[in-house]
Amino acid sequence: MNKFLPGTDPLMAPYAIELAGINKSFGAVHANRDIDLAVEQGTIHGIIGENGAGKSTLMSILYGFYQADSGEIRVGGQPVTINTPNDAIALGIGMVHQHFMLVENFTVLENVMLGAEGAQLLSGGIARARAELERLEREYALEVDPSAIIEELPVGLQQRVEILKALYRGAEILILDEPTGVLTPPEADHLFRILRQLKEQGKTIVLITHKLREIMAVTDNVSVMRQGEMVATRKTAETSVEELAELMVGRRVLLRVEKGEASPGAVKLAVENLTVRDSRGVTMVDDVSFEVRAGEIVGIAGVAGNGQSQLIEAIAGIRRAENGRVTLDGEPVSVTGEADPAMLRTRGMAHVPEDRHHMGLVLQFEENENAILGYHAKDSYVNGPMLDLASIRRDAAEKIEKYDIRPPNCRLKTANFSGGNQQKIVLAREMEQDPAVLIVGQPTRGVDVGAIEFIHKRIIEMRDAGKAVLLVSVELDEIRSLSDRILVMFAGRIAGERGPEATEGELGLLMAGVADETEAPRTKERSTEPETEAAE
């Protein structure tokens, strides 16, 4: 892959950070593969990539949280070894973690001091720390009450404390890992102002994000990561959202899926004004409405983390919604009350969850035990209170054959199947129940190429058999090749609707949150009128 390294002028100040040939594996997972990166002094350097592209791992290596398997790190031109966060701190590297590393029942001051107390007794350090904190707050306009308790502060201020922590330790290089994930747009804008100001004061900033808008708004240079590799580096001024989106997602060589015309029938799943908050109270799904008809695939595109997960979990009864209505086959579902996935299954809703390891499967179970997960009360699998093992195993063996699950052994522990075969176990279970509605989350995540084609074909077959399919995927190609209609989610809302012929760039803009003035309100309007024609 060609790399464009900015600022190759040898007379310039040395790079703040240079990484060369960094490799890191966790077991069989190659999280970072031969990463090279050069960050200019006094700039804001963005690192963009999808979830799981290896950005956080790379930065954790730089911060001494993990050690690279191979490769070299240079800070200020000098080769360095960073074994612990202490080494990083000593080299002037500070990090603001995605999940704040704050002690929630401590005060701001205590959090800032932690690890840099100055003396064995706090009494001496406190006064000094308070003075220093006040100086920093003034200098960088980072106001926050030193005696406030962290858990009582809004997240935006908590993040400010993280930044102050780094500055207090004398950080010259500041790494921010997905800093806006928990922020509202105004808070994010405020953060960017702070970052620009820090840059003016000569700090170097590395901003990790999967949000294109942020990269365009605040960075000087941007590096793109994909599947553990650094695929490109650009000057922000010389690139575009479209180019970055394409670099991020990549052009995956997919066999074109054979697919006939959709013939949508009656509305099977209708979602109206659904609002979902996460455990911290952050609104993840914001007033979303849409519907899915029998015999069509509605794809939800979007960069991971824009509320898709919460949306399908709420519809499937796993997560309680704050507000809104869902109707399944014309009958209402109590999404805001006591969630009951078991009851929804009996009413014909099948759900292939995004996370098969933690949700869709119990890895310690035998294959045949997972083949009934969620359907374990179904008549054909039980004899009164007893499991009908013979029937369960026969059924599992049939599915194994039909879905070509390998090895064809229903007594094998599920953890011993490959990712693709594990996914087929889930698909077989959910698809073979003859559901009215099929919700599929990330159907091919971590699945080998051979299985992808098979899974795609099965999804189309479900559509052609008259099922209403709701597909959520962060793989744009997958969405485009399977969906009959595409909804793009951004920041918890449906940013727009397109047909399958929409270009990648067009969808990319929607995914990046570039407002779609004409489409967004129309989508909402339409979805509340069940009679309107589906696709454009």
Binding site: A28, P353, H358, V362, I372, L389, S418, G419, G446
Partner: protein, 377 residues
């Protein structure tokens, strides 16, 4: 996060590693024997001799094992749901109350087997009731079940003392115990079972409860691996998120599991109360509730492992008494040490030898193809 350690063949996980842990525990116990100036090998020989050398020895070994099967099952059932029921001791203790109620009511009017059925039901109910509050608080109010069950052990002890020095004591008696049960609440011995093998039993209280314990072990196996409820319990224990996805209601499962666990502990009381002492007296549980933890850990929470592990501990209890005769420096408290060491090595330090064993097996498996990196992410 995926399992932190490499996968090992099943027989290593369920056979070799528990065995190594057990051996290490015994080696350390041997050191203690050396420390008090006795010969560990001779102690081991005495132990086996005492436990299996005579009909009475075997009788006592199996009598103790009966207790430990029940309490081991009690701990194991809760483990399957991801719960640590440390309250088996208290549940068994109050279970004795259920036994006493049935026995004192029926012993003069019914034959032993009717009393046994009634006592089994009552002891199970009372044991389950004692587990209910901690279970409900855990499921609904988030209070840690370990702490509440410990507290309930002590509350049970106070309650039983109160009842046995007060309401349950016959008038005029100085002993904190109920009256002796009449014939209708005395369980038949199983001496014939041992005598079938040509040995004599004179006094061992080995009784039909042993068969009930085996039936309970079989019942637990059926429950956990053959019923819908067991399926839900295991789903909950392995992955609460998957359980949620599957529509398993967590409060219900936690409470039901603990009721079963408590009932099993409660039934343990049948063995000493109706099978041996033939009256309800103080402190008849003598730590069996805690031995259940060791038994469940060694037996890997599977009845097929729990029964032999319970017999192993029965052997320690009986053989330990024999050692005490021969070796003045060693008393039955040696067993408590071994029990502690077993819990330490098979429980808290269960992973200590695992990396080394995994390396040894990794080395052997080097030649085989590794799963492709593309498969998992």
């Amino acid at each position: 996060m995926a399992a932190p350690y490499a996968k090992l063949p099943g027989w290593v996980d369920y056979g070799l590693i528990p065995l190594i842990n057990l051996v290490v525990a015994f080696l350390v116990a041997g050191l203690v024997v050396l420390l008090v100036g006795e010969n560990p090998l001779r102690a081991a020989a005495l132990l086996v001799q005492g436990a299996f050398g005579s009909g009475d020895g075997i009788g006592y070994t199996l009598f103790y094992a009966t207790n430990f099967i029940f309490t081991g099952l009690c701990v194991a059932v809760a483990f399957h749901c991801g719960l640590f029921n440390i309250g088996g001791e208290g549940q068994a203790y109050v279970g004795g109350l259920g036994v006493a109620i049935a026995a004192l009511t029926l012993d003069t009017v019914a034959p032993w087997w009717i009393t046994l059925i009634a006592a089994t039901v009552m002891s199970g109910l009372v044991g389950a009731a004692w587990a209910f509050i901690p279970a409900y608080f855990q499921a609904r109010r988030g209070s840690h079940i370990v702490i509440t069950t410990i507290m309930f052990n002590f509350i049970a002890a106070s309650l039983m003392v109160y009842l046995l020095v007060g309401p349950l004591k016959p008038l005029g008696s100085q002993v904190p115990a109920t009256r002796d049960f009449a014939e209708g609440a005395q369980l038949p011995r199983l001496d014939w079972l041992i005598e079938m093998f040509g040995m004599n039993v004179r006094s061992a209280p080995f009784n039909v409860t042993f068969l009930l314990a085996l039936a309970a072990a079989f019942g637990v196996w059926v429950l956990i691996w053959r019923t819908r409820l067991g399926y839900e319990i295991r789903t909950m224990g392995f992955s609460p998120t998957a359980a949620r996805y599957a529509g398993v209601r967590d409060t219900r499962i936690i409470v039901v599991t603990m009721l079963i666990s408590g009932a099993l502990a409660g039934m343990m009381a049948l063995n000493p109360v109706m099978g041996d002492q033939e009256r309800l007296q103080l402190d008849f549980v003598t730590g069996a509730g805690f031995v259940g933890i060791a038994v469940a850990l060694i037996g890997r929470s599977h009845p097929a492992g729990i029964v032999p592990a319970a017999i192993l501990f029965g052997m320690l209890y009986q053989g330990g008494a024999e050692i005490a005769f021969e070796m003045p420096n060693i008393s039955r408290d040696m067993i408590v040490i071994i029990q502690g060491l077993v819990i330490l090595f098979a429980g808290a330090l269960e992973h200590m030898f695992r990396p080394a064993i995994a390396r040894a097996f990794g080395g052997l498996a080097e030649g085989r193809p590794k799963p492709s990196a593309a498969v998992t992410r």
